[in-house]
C-alpha cells in the first residue's frame, strides 16, 4: 500500500462533515416527509426520529431548545415539513437532519410561506425591539383600520366608550379578507399615517380561519407598517393567532378589544387622580397660608392689642435671661481660668531650681544630705551651707533646741 495517501476513519468522516457543512444549499432547508421511529428522550428532552417517503429514509434530531418551541407533539405517520440543516453524525458516519422546526404538512404551502417571510423580515430587523415606538398615554385621536361591519370595530367602540370616551375614533373601513384586502389595508394605513394623523393606529380584525387572516401576512403591508410614523397596535384574530402584522407592529394585542384597552387610559382612575391632586394642592396651600398667618399674627393681632408688647416682653426677658446667663458663664470661666493659671504658675515656680537659692533661703547639707531639722545636727558636725552665690563649709559649735527666737 506504499505510495497511497492513507486516511483514518475519523479523518474521512470529518472531511465528509466539513464538505457538507460548507455547502450553504444544505442549511436552512425545508424537507417534507413522514415521521417514523419517533422518540422523545425523557432525560435530555431531545427528539429523535426518521423522515421517510416512498424512496428514502433519513435520521433526524431535534435538540431540546428547539423541541420545546413546537406547539404539537409529533407522531409516527404524521406528514410534516421540517426546517433543518443537513450534517454528519461523525461517530456513525451517518447523514442526518438537525431540525429547528416542524410543521404539520396539512397547513400547506401558505404556512411555509409565512415561516419564510417571517424569517426574512426578522433577519432584516423589521421586528427589532429598538424600532418599536412608544404608545401615547392619553390618545385623543385613535385611528382604526378594520371592517366597517365586523365585530372588531364594535368591540373597540365598546371598550373606548367605557374607558376613554375622550378619544375620537377615525375608522377607515376595509375588507379584512379576500384577494383585495392587503391592498386596501395598505392604502388605509397610508391615509391614516399621512392624512388623518391619529395618536395611535389600531389595525386588525376578529377571529377567523388562518386563510381568513392571511391578508395580515402580506409582505408589503408589513413594510408599510414598519415605515409608519404613527405607533401601530396590531390585533388580528384570537389570542392564539399570530400574523406578520403582529410581529412588525409596535405592539401586538391578542384581540381588538385588548387593543382598545391597551391604547387607552381608564377615565375613572384619571378622574380620581385629578381629585387627589386638587386635594393635595389645597392641603399644601392651606399649610403654607397657616404658616404665614401664624407669623403675621405674631406682629399684628387684632384680638389682643398688647400681644405685640407681650411678645416683645417675652422676647426681651428671654434675651435678658440669655445675656445674664452668658455673663455669669463668662465670669465663671474667667475665674476658673484664673485659678488654673495661678495654680500652674505656682507649680512652675516650685519646680524652678533657682528658687531654691533665693535670697532669704539657703540649703544646708550634712554628709551630702539635705538637713531640714536642727535635731539631726550636733556640735562638731561638718555642714555645707549653699547660698545662691556661694557655699560655706562650716563646723557646728553650739546648738539651741526649740524654735527661732528673733
Amino acid at each position: 500500500m506504499a505510495g497511497f495517501n492513507i486516511l483514518t476513519v475519523t479523518q474521512i468522516t470529518a472531511y465528509l462533515k466539513s464538505y457538507i457543512d460548507e455547502n450553504k444549499k444544505l442549511s436552512g432547508i425545508y424537507i417534507k416527509g413522514e415521521i417514523t421511529d419517533f422518540k422523545a428522550n425523557f432525560y435530555s428532552g431531545h427528539y429523535y426520529f426518521s423522515l421517510k417517503d416512498s424512496g428514502a429514509e433519513i435520521n433526524c434530531v431535534m435538540f431540546r431548545s428547539y423541541a420545546e418551541r413546537i406547539r404539537f407533539m409529533p407522531e409516527n405517520g404524521m406528514s410534516v415539513i421540517v426546517r433543518c440543516d443537513l450534517s454528519v453524525y461523525q461517530k456513525a458516519c451517518s447523514c442526518q437532519l438537525y431540525v429547528y422546526d416542524i410543521q404539520p404538512e396539512g397547513l400547506g404551502a401558505k404556512h411555509l410561506a409565512f415561516e419564510q417571510l417571517k424569517a426574512k423580515l426578522e433577519a432584516e430587523g423589521l421586528f427589532d425591539e429598538k424600532y418599536k415606538k412608544t404608545l401615547p398615554q392619553y390618545p385623543e385621536k385613535i385611528g382604526v383600520i378594520t371592517s366597517g361591519s365586523g365585530a372588531a370595530i364594535q368591540d373597540i367602540i365598546n371598550v373606548l366608550t367605557r374607558r376613554w370616551p375622550v378619544a375620537k375614533i377615525v375608522l377607515t373601513p376595509v375588507s379584512v379578507q379576500g384577494e383585495d384586502s392587503p391592498k386596501q389595508l395598505i392604502s388605509a394605513l397610508r391615509k391614516q399615517d399621512s392624512v388623518i394623523k391619529p395618536d395611535v393606529i389600531i389595525i386588525g380584525r376578529g377571529g377567523g380561519s388562518s386563510e381568513d387572516l392571511s391578508a395580515f401576512n402580506d409582505e408589503t403591508l408589513a413594510r408599510e407598517i414598519f415605515a409608519c410614523k404613527t405607533p401601530v397596535i396590531s390585533a388580528v384574530g384570537h389570542e392564539t393567532d399570530f400574523s406578520i402584522c403582529d410581529f412588525v407592529s409596535d405592539l401586538r394585542a391578542p384581540t381588538p378589544s385588548a387593543a382598545a384597552e391597551i391604547s387607552s387610559p381608564d377615565i375613572n382612575a384619571l378622574r380620581q387622580s385629578f381629585d387627589d391632586n386638587i386635594g393635595w394642592m389645597r392641603d399644601y396651600i392651606e399649610r403654607k397660608c397657616d404658616k404665614y398667618a401664624d407669623l403675621l399674627s405674631k406682629f399684628t393681632s387684632v384680638k389682643s392689642k398688647n400681644f405685640t408688647d407681650n411678645f416683645l416682653l417675652k422676647y426681651q426677658n428671654q434675651l435678658d435671661f440669655i445675656s445674664e446667663k452668658r455673663e455669669f458663664l463668662f465670669k465663671n470661666l474667667l475665674l476658673s481660668k484664673e485659678s488654673k493659671f495661678s495654680l500652674a504658675l505656682a507649680k512652675l515656680d516650685y519646680n524652678n531650681p533657682a528658687k531654691i537659692f533665693s535670697k532669704s533661703v539657703c540649703r544646708i547639707e550634712k554628709d551630702k544630705k539635705e538637713v531640714v531639722s536642727a535635731k539631726k545636727v550636733f556640735p562638731g558636725d561638718s555642714i555645707k551651707i549653699y547660698f545662691s552665690d556661694g557655699v560655706l563649709k562650716a563646723t557646728v559649735t553650739e546648738k539651741e533646741e526649740g524654735g527661732p527666737s528673733f
Binding site: 392619553y138 370616551p165 375622550v166 377615525v170 377607515t172 376595509v174 391615509k191 388623518i196 384619571l270 394642592m281
Partner: protein
Amino acid sequence: MKKEIKFEEALERLAEINEKLESEEISLDDSIKLFKEGLELSKLCQKKLDEAKLEIEKIVID
C-alpha cells in the same frame, strides 16, 4: 390658557406644578399663583372627562 389643551400636556404641566409647590424655596405669592393654575388645569381636565362622549368618524379610502 389654551382652551384645547392636550391631556398629555395638561398632565405634564400639573406634574411640574406639583414639583414646584413641593420645593420649599417657593414664595407664598408664587405658590398661590401655581395653586390657581393647577386648580384651573385640573378642573378643565375633569370637565373634559365629564363631558366626554366618544366620537366616531368614518373616512373611506379612495
